[in-house]
């Protein structure tokens, strides 16, 4: 279950954008920043479940499309004053392939986020 899955190539995700990966754990949003870092979060905003994949990506953050919460892509944590956290998934780049680990989801910031450029 803890395998890395090849979910596509970097260019399938627009810079400063996101795409969705459907999984048994539900939808996962895979983000790409301007510097080609990739991050993955559960596609549900901790506020009221808004689809984070549809938000505006800026710096290393995403703004939820529904009520404008801002979340840190690396940790999934909401930026103050809001409080909440979206589950994050390990994701990494090997060459231009995007690899996602779905089994080992974690909610905290203890694991390395696996961003590579």
């Amino acid at each position: 279950m803890n395998d890395w899955h090849d979910v596509g190539c970097l260019d399938d995700i627009p810079p400063l954008g996101a795409r969705v990966v459907r999984s048994a754990q539900g939808d996962i949003a895979v983000f790409r920043t301007a510097d080609n870092d990739v991050f993955a979060l559960r596609d549900r905003c901790p506020h009221k479940g808004g689809p984070l994949s549809q938000g505006i990506v800026h710096g290393q953050r995403v703004t939820c499309p529904l009520h404008g919460w801002v979340l840190e892509l690396a940790s999934g944590n909401a930026v103050a004053p809001d409080i909440g956290c979206a589950k994050r998934f390990p994701v990494k780049l090997i060459g231009d392939r995007v690899l996602l680990q779905v089994g080992a989801a974690s909610a905290g910031g203890e694991e390395q986020h696996g961003a590579a450029a």
């Binding site: 990966v21 939808d27 479940g49 800026h58 499309p65």
Partner: protein, 811 residues
């Protein structure tokens, strides 16, 4: 190694600069602070409420000692710097402490002016400047001493006198002139104030010159020039302040009245900056905090080596912080031969308001008894707004203007559980609590911490009032608000740069205007994208990732992540074929809800994202295009049946509505733009609450602008009357274009018109034929690039295909 920054003066201006610097360049400097007072830094303006017993010293601390440690700042509290060795770049304190600097910041504030008269050094003679002074006053009162004399009937003197009286002392205010607070009040308001204060028990000696302070081991009495003597156990000198420049002068830094600085707050020694009351900028010295906040921002920016921003001087306003007395003044309130005065006096209510006006622009204001609109007048003053459109009613206040909805009464009279922000359900008590506990100073901070006024913004005025009443007279709003936290620049400045520097991409804007973030944020990017494509329609590339999701996928996101689809129904007209196609689409894609919208068309709600291109394809096949129900763009053109069927109809309102919609659909605007055409003054299409509305009459067409329903309802203003449909089209295109070019992003036509004035719009559209035609031509030109059906592009799979498919599906 980090550069070393040393700050002399642990007061309001210096520490504000440090805080601003920590925000933008937290790791640049190792910071050392010297302060002669043995405290952290505190909100000096709140000393008056402390003296009056309304606050405690703890409640007015801005940063306590642990805060400095947390930030890694070395603080020498209670340590006065006595020497700056500029050659060695070292400062030396009286207790022997030294520190070396790469950059030095002077913020030594002011010292009270002590009258040069015999006895001025007796114990019991003090200024009103710091916590030590307040403690002396409180101790004197508690020791049971009865008589206090305050010399100086200005802002500080009156606050001191009021506080001492509250502490049980009998207090006399001595004033050299015969107008109290003459730097803030005109004689009429000053008299009202004096009467009120006398009723509360203060005594005044006006037109009196103090000759000597008498006493042996402490003060006993005060003697005046005319020989009168009055007993006194305490004398507070509040006869003015002087910039504290002794140290700077001794160190050879160029000083005149204050330490002379340029627009970047740099002194004549390039390593040394200065901010606050100790500086002299363009010949001015300041004695209020609002200018210091602006200085702090600019100075921090230069200390961080960003090198943008200049301080250009400030206009200030004042309030007296004596509970129960509402008093406000700003600008030039005395006026002169070339100014007019608009005055309202209502002695029974104890209200006096005066505006000084020159060529229809506010130059100054004095208000007594009712100051709710102080902030509004101050804004009119700073922005130089032309008030001719509402000159007759300006003194009745903002609430009286067409965009009512502002609370007319003082917010402080409201109870703690009164809801201030309807969008986010925030009550007054929550806001007050956040302001005092988290030490908030600006509306932005209140917004970030409480969400009040973070959504529709209609309660911003109330939040400002609560802020002002809770923290005192803070007014940190710069002259023009910055677009967002990514930049110092206002919407107008950015837009001007885009036009004048011919910027055609976000990258160019970020680089040229020194954006603070690498790629903006959700707030500035959509605005910039709009400014770029509306200014350079043929050249600027629409930046897809800078659009809100609705405009990216051309449908409205719903609370469950599905979308709604609204096809255009030109002027509200539809056909059996269109209705059949809609019904088929709803069946085929199992769309749960079909609803008639408030805008005369049909909404398909609950469409799955991946079905969107197919739904559009089917609707396109039946001849329908996107209704832009999701866009900052032309929305609907509502019509009534008009002369074709209605027995009262005077013109073909339906036909004209369709023509207007065909001309304007697809255009991007600063905010959404709605139109309507009614066939007669019964106005069944509600044209008088639209951004552009037409009411047909027998002799032609009445053209109305600047209305909306929504959060703050505003009826339209009549722009003019026209006789042909072609004229209506031209005026409509020209009006949309001027709004597109000059409205700020997310500013609808209603607030825009209130900002620029109806007369201005008339001068551009009605009175300037050539200008109107040019605007109309520019509108039509930009429509060439805009009228592409976004649905057809996407239904074909040619554009943004990735948006509608998952990246991968895992087992």
């Amino acid at each position: 190694m980090k550069e070393r920054l040393v700050l002399i003066g642990n007061g309001m201006a210096g520490m504000r600069t440090v805080e601003e610097l920590l925000k933008i360049a937290p790791d640049k400097y190792a910071i050392t602070v010297f302060g002669s007072e043995p405290h952290g830094n505190y909100n000096r303006i709140m000393l008056s409420p402390v003296l009056a017993g309304e606050k405690t010293v703890d409640q007015i601390m801005i940063n306590d000692l642990p805060w400095y440690a947390e930030q890694g700042i070395t603080l020498h509290a209670g340590s006065e710097v006595v020497k700056i060795d500029r050659a060695r770049r070292q400062v030396i304190a009286a207790d022997g402490t030294t520190a070396t600097y790469d950059r030095l910041l002077l913020a030594t504030g002011s010292v009270p002016f002590i009258l040069p008269i015999p006895g001025n050094d007796l114990p019991g003679v003090i200024g009103f400047r710091d916590i030590a002074d307040v403690n002396t006053m409180l101790d004197t009162a508690q020791a049971g001493r009865k008589h206090a004399v305050v010399i100086g009937g200005g802002l500080l003197g009156l606050e001191a006198a009021n506080g001492l009286m509250k502490q049980g002392m009998e207090c006399t205010v001595v004033h050299l002139g015969d107008v109290l607070m003459e730097r803030q009040l005109d004689p009429f308001a000053a008299d009202l104030l004096r009467t009120t204060l006398e009723e509360r028990g203060l005594r005044f000696l006006m037109g009196m010159q103090t000759a000597a302070i008498l006493g042996e081991d402490r003060v006993r009495a005060v003697r005046f020039k005319d020989g009168l003597e009055i007993p006194s156990d305490l004398v507070v000198m509040a006869a003015g302040i002087r910039p504290n420049i002794t140290l700077a002068k001794q160190s050879g830094i160029h000083c005149e009245r204050g330490i002379v600085v340029n627009d970047t707050l740099q002194t004549y020694d390039p390593r040394i900056y200065a901010v606050g009351e100790c500086v002299q900028h363009r010949g001015q010295v300041y004695g209020l905090v609002a200018p210091l906040w602006e200085q702090a921002k600019v100075c921090a920016n230069h200390l961080a080596h960003y090198g943008i921003g200049r301080y250009l001087g400030s206009v200030t306003s004042t309030k007296l912080k004596v509970t129960g007395i509402d008093l406000f003044s700003a600008g030039d309130f005395n006026g002169g031969p070339d100014t007019d005065e608009i005055v309202l006096r209502d002695p029974a209510r104890g209200v006096y308001k005066k505006l000084v006006v020159k060529e229809n622009r506010v130059q100054g204001a004095v208000m007594y008894g009712d100051t709710v609109d102080g902030a509004w007048y101050f804004q009119l003053l700073r922005e130089g707004t032309d008030i001719s459109d509402f000159r007759e009613t300006v003194l009745f206040g903002h609430a009286h203007m067409a965009d009512a909805g502002r609370e007319g009464h003082s917010v402080m009279a409201m109870s703690d559980d009164a809801e201030i922000c309807g969008c986010n359900g925030v009550c007054k008590g929550t806001i007050v609590k956040a302001i005092s506990e988290k030490k908030l100073f600006t509306v932005d901070e209140v917004r970030a911490h409480t969400k009040a006024s973070a959504s529709c913004g209609s309660c911003t005025g109330l939040v400002e009032q609560i802020l002002a009443a809770t923290v005192g007279n803070f007014d940190a709003t710069p002259k023009e608000k910055a677009m967002c936290k990514c930049t110092e620049h206002s919407h107008d400045v950015v837009r001007k740069a885009i036009r004048e520097e011919h910027l055609i991409s976000l990258r160019e804007v970020f680089d040229l205007l020194n954006w603070k973030t690498p790629n903006g944020c959700h707030s500035c990017r959509p605005a910039l994208n709009y400014y770029l494509i509306s200014t350079w329609p043929a050249e600027a590339q629409d930046d897809y990732q800078s659009r809100f999701i609705n405009e990216r996928v051309h449908a409205n996101i719903q609370k469950d992540g599905t979308y709604s689809v609204v096809p255009r129904m030109w002027g509200g007209l539809t056909t059996p074929d269109e209705l059949r196609a809609i019904a088929d689409v709803a069946d085929k894609y199992q769309i749960p809800t079909v609803k008639v919208t408030g805008g005369q068309r049909i909404d398909l709600l609950g469409v799955k994202k991946e079905d969107l291109p197919k739904v559009w394809g089917d609707l396109n096949a039946a001849g329908m295009v996107s209704g832009h129900a999701y866009g900052k763009s032309l929305r609907t053109v509502k019509t009534c049946v008009g002369s074709e069927w209605c027995r009262f109809g005077t013109q073909d309102s339906t036909g004209l509505g369709v023509k207007l919609e065909k001309m304007t659909w697809g255009s991007w605007t600063p905010h959404k733009f709605k139109m309507a055409v009614s066939g007669c003054p019964r106005n069944c299409a509600e044209a008088t609450i639209k951004d552009f509305g037409v009411v047909c009459v027998d002799s032609g067409y009445e053209v109305h602008i600047g209305g909306n329903g929504g959060i703050k309802i505003r009826g339209t203003d009549l722009l003019c009357k026209l006789t042909t449909e072609q004229d209506v089209m031209e005026y409509c295109g020209a009006f949309m274009q001027i709004y597109r070019e000059e409205g700020r992003y997310l500013e609808r036509t209603a607030p825009w018109i209130e900002r620029v004035g109806l007369s201005y719009v008339k001068s551009r559209i009605v009175e300037d034929d050539e200008g109107r035609r040019a605007l109309y031509a520019r509108f039509l030109e930009s429509q060439k690039y805009a009228q592409v059906d976004p649905w057809a592009e996407r239904a074909s799979g040619a554009v943004d295909a990735h948006e509608f498919k998952p990246l991968a599906v895992m087992a």
